[in-house]
Symmetry: C2
DNA sequence: ATCATTATTGACACTATCGTCAAGATTGAC
DNA sequence: GTCAATCTTGACGATAGTGTCAATAATGAT
């Protein structure tokens, strides 16, 4: 290595993640990224190629954090309690910031029609992995549930988390989202 | 009236709706609208002012159709059967076309951060009205449900429909969405 | 200390979209 | 049939974003 990078890559990606989270893949511009990170546009092109390459790195960082936090929240002897912690975590996650940033995965999924195969694949991956985490958490409960049922239910729960993300974008407050989550858990999980 | 409009306004809005449905408010351009409708860009500006005014008209047309169809599907003596018909309707609605168009309301909700107050308000309105339709349908069932419970549950169901719309964008097929809806109804409604 | 290599910088060309406007075309009203 | 009002048309300027490139600067390796 001779000419050496003048910026910290991890820090750069973390800042880029913030920009993408607030603006979305589609609406965030290279100028936005340059302004936020203090790295010139030309340097970004040189270092990463294009905007989507930067997004993929930032998104990977995001999903890593997110899935870890989800796993932690879900790890609880009592499946219902774990789910409650999990829902609380994602609701805080999507209502954080001012204005709230929403859910990056959901926003990206909706942008996906315009995006590349790579982006679509990442979205599917994170949803699948989340489904597996949830399936494991509810499967190991005081199970009178079959494995097939747990798997189906896990996907329903993932779907509901996506619904909450949309409701947040529609203007529902953190408190309203918590109530929505509570009603859902009461209806689906405890009764199932 | 002297110089008279050279195009059919209803037809124009219907075509615009198709464009917005496929591309989204944000990504559809006036050029797209002009090309699809055969009306020149300048004429569209003259007739409506800007893109968002056209969108609002198209969206109103859409929500009118949508809510009517939802009401029809839900009108059933058996609340669970009505819900099944309702979910089937929205799943067909969002997976129709090739490639599927998805759910316009959900897409618009996600765009909403960039959009005007008017657009945001329309999205909230359609969700609220849908919630009311569902509340009425499940409330009039063989109710051992309190009115407050029915209301809460209705909002949960609306939220779940939004989740299905996101899952569709993430790549889930009509068949998978139907299974997701079925599992949800079994878990939430029949057991509640 | 020199050099070869890489990063940075700012300018450039290109494309897309927007919104406006003046000139021309059309047509209902009288 | 004339006219005034309205619509249509095509061109224009402005803005924003993309990706590229040549010139410059910096630095690890020798």
């Amino acid at each position: 290595m001779v000419g050496v990078r003048q910026f910290d890559e991890d820090e750069m990606i973390a800042t880029a993640l913030d920009v993408f989270w607030r603006k979305g893949l589609h609406d965030a511009t290279m100028q936005d990224l340059a302004a936020a990170t203090g790295v010139q546009r030309g340097s970004l092109y040189n270092a990463y190629g294009d905007k989507e390459a930067i997004f993929l790195r930032a998104f990977d960082q995001y999903t890593g954090q997110f899935l870890e936090a989800a796993g932690n929240a879900l790890s609880n002897a009592d499946a219902a309690a774990g789910l409650r912690r999990f829902f609380d975590m994602i609701i805080v996650n999507m209502t954080d910031g001012s204005p709230p940033r929403g859910c990056l995965t959901t926003r990206t999924a909706l942008d996906a029609a315009i995006s590349s195969t790579d982006v679509r694949q990442r979205v599917q991956d994170v949803l699948t992995r989340l489904e597996q985490l949830i399936g494991k958490a509810i499967g190991t409960g005081p199970g009178k549930r079959s494995a097939a049922d747990a798997s189906r239910l896990a996907r329903v729960i993932v779907t509901y988390t996506r619904g909450l993300a949309v409701m947040e974008r529609a203007g529902y407050s953190r408190k309203q989202l918590r109530e929505l989550a509570g009603t859902f858990i009461d209806a689906v999980v405890d009764n199932a």
